[in-house]
């Protein structure tokens, strides 16, 4: 890891001057249809269903999702995957609502904040669809912890060029804003509330209302990116408070106020429309309004490119899909650019402007180089993970290199690689468990067979000993019998161990095999013990029977001794044979799994052929041809491998470590 010198200079971006006479927000005419993305929520309506305004359309699918409500009355036409107004325009399930123009609403129920706890507030906000920067406005796991809140920051800072929606909101809905903060204060009981506004946003009306409540207004005049949650908390919270403070965006706070105080779900937001438009300004638009409808309302020229978001961090959206992409809660600003403003890139001229302006003290020109090379490892070593994706380097670069875009791309690439790795690890675990399971089943079967063979042998021995009446088993004979049983069990165990060893060498899975061996050993021990117990019991029974019969103790003659030894040896042979037979199949499988697989494949192919002959369809024929081709390929490869292996003087490849 490389260390960076702390570069002097810092960052002072000459932000384009902003008009702050924000015109009153206009209300958008009702669009003919609404396109509502279903992100982290599951629909609870059916296509074709008639819905009323404020009716719930989707429930949150996890603690990180929020619910979705109908912005107007109408009919659900379809639920289908569509491009979203998100970076990269990913496909996601989208609910399409055809407005009927009547705008019939469900009655709203005003809530009472005095009876809410932080947790019930968080749940209610999730139900009302009020989203913050990451999921629901109040994170559920935070609300569940029920820790005291030392500092609540209401973030009304807009520091990117073009963003003006919050300023307009504060001007127009100052009372609602103040009421919403009062509601939050009542429920969350923070020790201190700070209202962070940018320099020019602090209107006097707001100041007066705020001072009446004893809140603090803090004017943020540090340069970009001052409006970020982390930066604000670092600036406004004392070190003791920093860990537990909360920073909430002002527009979501207003929506939360409406949701709790008036029971109105979050169905619309203020959007700033800027740039090459006849009537730029802020509009109150329903969520799900198609972007083209918004831009046409503001008088966009026929041919435009869309940038979603502010002047520094905004991302381009495909303009030809503007009909299909709906507004979502994070669409603060839409820019309609003339299409040819992009481009004009040159090579990096090593001017160093980007590294002087980078607030994270990175070297964007180096990072860019590695990102262009798709060299994620090196880019990480140069601090890609520390890049806040603020976009300053991109804004100042005289060569107009797409620095921000490549950083975003590479950072996401890295994330997805991590994800794939996780999935692969998961698949490996499952595969190994499966191998372990198959191995275990095989061993269990072998042991069952061995146990049954031993049992049968014992039974035969019993009948054999019972047949000659004069040969009553003595305690000595019983001992012998037990010893034989034990020996047989030991032999079976040896066999299974041998089998295990073979399988260990074939399957290189040490951990699973160790586990399997441990399990097999314990099971074997249990079986041994059980068999020994059974043998002892039988011997005792036999002895008791002999005693109760009252027959005289017959001397164990030499002849009977011989006979017994003969029988025993024959039995042992039989048992061994049986065990060997039982073990042969799995052992072969281990030794030549490949051959078996091949045979199975051939069988399958033959089956397929038979099928194809029975009902020859073109698909089957195709498949058969494919399979044959694959088999031929495999065979050829195998032959080539064998050739290679047998080729004389083949240099040993050293094992690289």
């Amino acid at each position: 890891m490389r260390r960076f010198l702390s570069l002097p200079g810092g960052f002072t971006l000459p932000l384009p001057s902003r008009k702050h006479d924000s015109p009153p927000a206009s209300v958008l005419p009702l669009p003919p249809r609404l396109v509502l993305g279903l992100q982290q929520c599951l629909p609870c309506v059916q296509p074709g269903q008639q819905v009323l305004k404020y009716q719930r359309l989707a429930d949150a699918d996890s603690e990180y999702g929020v619910a979705l409500h109908a912005p107007t009355s109408g009919r659900i036409i379809a639920i289908q995957p569509q491009a979203q107004a998100l970076p990269g325009a990913p496909l996601a399930d989208t609910l399409i609502l055809e407005a009927d123009g009547r705008d019939e609403a469900l009655p709203l129920q005003a809530g009472d904040p005095s009876r809410l706890t932080p947790l019930s507030l968080a749940l209610q906000l999730q139900d009302m669809g009020v989203a913050g920067n990451h999921g629901p406005l109040l994170a559920l796991d935070w609300a569940m912890q029920q820790c005291a809140l030392p500092l609540l920051i209401i973030n009304a800072v807009e520091d990117e060029p073009y963003l003006a929606a919050t300023a307009t909101l504060l001007e127009e809905q100052a009372e609602a804003f103040v009421a919403a903060i009062a509601m939050l204060e009542q429920v969350l009981r923070p020790a201190r509330i700070v209202l962070a506004v940018s320099q020019t946003d602090s209107s006097e009306a707001l100041q007066a209302a705020v001072s009446q409540h004893g809140w603090q207004v803090s004017t943020i005049n540090t340069p970009y990116p001052a409006g970020d949650e982390t930066t604000l908390i670092r600036q406004l919270a004392s070190p003791a408070e920093a860990a537990h403070s909360l920073c909430l965006p002002a527009d979501a706070v207003v929506a939360a106020g409406a949701a709790i105080l008036h029971g109105q779900p979050c169905i619309s937001r203020l959007v700033t429309l800027v740039d090459k438009l006849d009537r730029p300004g802020s509009v109150q638009a329903l969520l799900g309004t198609p972007l083209s409808h918004l831009l046409n309302f503001a008088g966009a020229k026929a041919n435009y490119a869309i940038t979603h978001g502010g002047g520094l961090r905004g991302y381009a959206l495909p303009a030809d899909q503007a009909d299909a992409m709906g507004l979502h809660w994070h669409s603060q600003c839409l820019q309609a650019r003339t299409p040819d403003t992009a481009g004009q890139q040159q090579d990096c001229i090593r001017c160093g402007d980007c590294l002087r302006i980078c607030p994270s003290k990175l070297q964007p020109q180096e990072l860019y180089w590695h990102c262009q090379q798709d060299n994620v490892e090196t880019a990480n070593a140069w601090g890609l993970q520390d890049c806040t994706l603020c976009g300053l380097c991109d804004a100042v670069c005289p060569s107009q290199l797409p620095l921000l875009d490549s950083f975003r791309h590479t950072a996401l690439q890295y994330q997805s690689t991590q994800q794939q790795q996780q999935q692969a690890d998961h698949a490996r675990q499952r595969h190994r468990f499966r191998q372990f399971r198959l191995e275990r089943d095989k061993q269990e079967k072998a042991q069952r067979l061995a146990a049954r063979a031993a049992e049968q042998a014992a039974k035969r021995e019993q009948t054999a000993t019972a047949a000659p009446q004069e040969n009553k088993p003595t305690p000595a004979a019983a001992d012998k019998q037990a010893a034989i049983a034990a020996a047989m069990a030991r032999a079976a165990q040896r066999n299974s161990q041998h089998l295990e060893k073979q399988s260990t060498s074939s399957a290189d899975d040490r951990q699973a095999d160790a586990r399997a061996a441990a399990m097999a050993a314990s099971r074997q021990a249990a079986i041994d013990a059980a068999m020994a117990r059974a043998a002892a019991r039988k011997a005792a029974q036999d002895a008791a029977k002999a005693a109760s019969a009252g027959s005289q103790q017959v001397d164990t003659t030499a002849a009977s001794d011989d006979k017994q030894a003969l029988i025993q040896s024959a039995m042992q042979r039989a048992a061994m044979q049986k065990a060997a037979q039982a073990n042969a199949a799995p052992a072969n499988m281990d030794a030549d799994k490949k051959a078996l697989i091949e045979a199975a494949m051939q069988r399958a192919a033959a089956q397929k052929t038979a099928q194809a002959n029975a009902a020859p369809t073109s698909m089957d024929a195709d498949k058969k041809a494919l399979i044959e081709a694959a088999m031929q390929r495999a065979a050829a490869q195998k032959a080539a491998q064998a050739d290679k292996a047998h080729a004389p003087g083949k240099p040993e490849k050293p094992e690289n470590t």
Binding site: Q39, Q40, L86, P87, G88, P90, L91, A92, Y315, A342, G343, Q344, Q345, P402, D405, S406, R408, H409, L412, Q413, S416, Q419, Q420, A424, D425, H426, A427, R428, R430, H431, F433, R434, D508, D509, K593, K594, I597, A604, Q607, K608, Q611, M619, I627, A630, R633, A634, A636, Q637, K638, Q641, A645, E652, K653, P654, E655, N656, T657
Partner: protein, 191 residues
């Protein structure tokens, strides 16, 4: 005497130089205690599809570790996988083997539940136990566990399993790859 001093100085200089060189030399990677086959297995995609000609990723990794196979046989790993293998084994990058099947985008198996006869053959084929069902009952694929190996397609006697493209979830978002616009520069008329 002078010669001795000179030799001593020379030795000192060499020793210092070596120290400096050693210090500057970047350690390429810290020593990984796992055996080579394990480390190779760790970067294989674990689709367990057998397209490399082995019975799974682990046997292929073992063959690679013994130097018995080439690194360009795993289609699910793609070029990126070959590059990783080449870096790990300190060999050169190889283009895909000509006889290797083409690499495909990730897909997930789907069982047509009305056609499934419950023969359990696909369960026995699935290397990651991603199919759920029992004899004479309808079977289904756990999409989250399916690696897309296609091994269940061949044994199915009624051909009711098909591969569908893996659904993209919001976590699969990609920023579009930054495209650099190429402009024609007016060539100056040569004399």
């Amino acid at each position: 005497m002078n010669v001795l001093v000179f030799i001593a100085l020379l030795l000192l200089a060499v020793w210092l130089l070596r120290r400096v060189m050693q210090h500057n030399k970047q350690q390429p990677e810290h020593k990984d205690p796992r055996p080579l086959a394990e480390r190779i297995d760790a970067i294989l995609p674990q689709t367990q599809c057998g397209q490399c000609g082995h019975a799974g990723c682990q046997p292929y990794a073992a063959a690679l570790a013994k130097g018995e196979d080439s690194i360009n046989r795993c289609p699910p790993g793609g070029e990126e996988g070959i590059r990783k293998l080449a870096a790990l084994l300190h060999t050169d990058y190889l283009p895909f083997a000509a006889d290797a099947p083409p690499s495909k985008p990730k897909a997930v198996a789907l069982i047509d539940e009305s056609t499934c006869i419950g023969c359990t053959l696909c369960i026995q084929a699935c290397p990651v136990d991603a199919i759920l069902g029992s004899a004479k009952q309808m079977h289904t694929v756990l999409a989250a566990e399916c690696t897309g190996c296609e091994l269940c397609l061949v044994p199915c006697p009624v051909d009711c399993i098909s591969m569908r493209p893996a659904t993209s979830s919001p976590s699969d978002w990609r920023w579009g790859y930054p495209v650099i616009v190429i402009k024609a520069i007016k060539s100056e008329a040569r004399p």
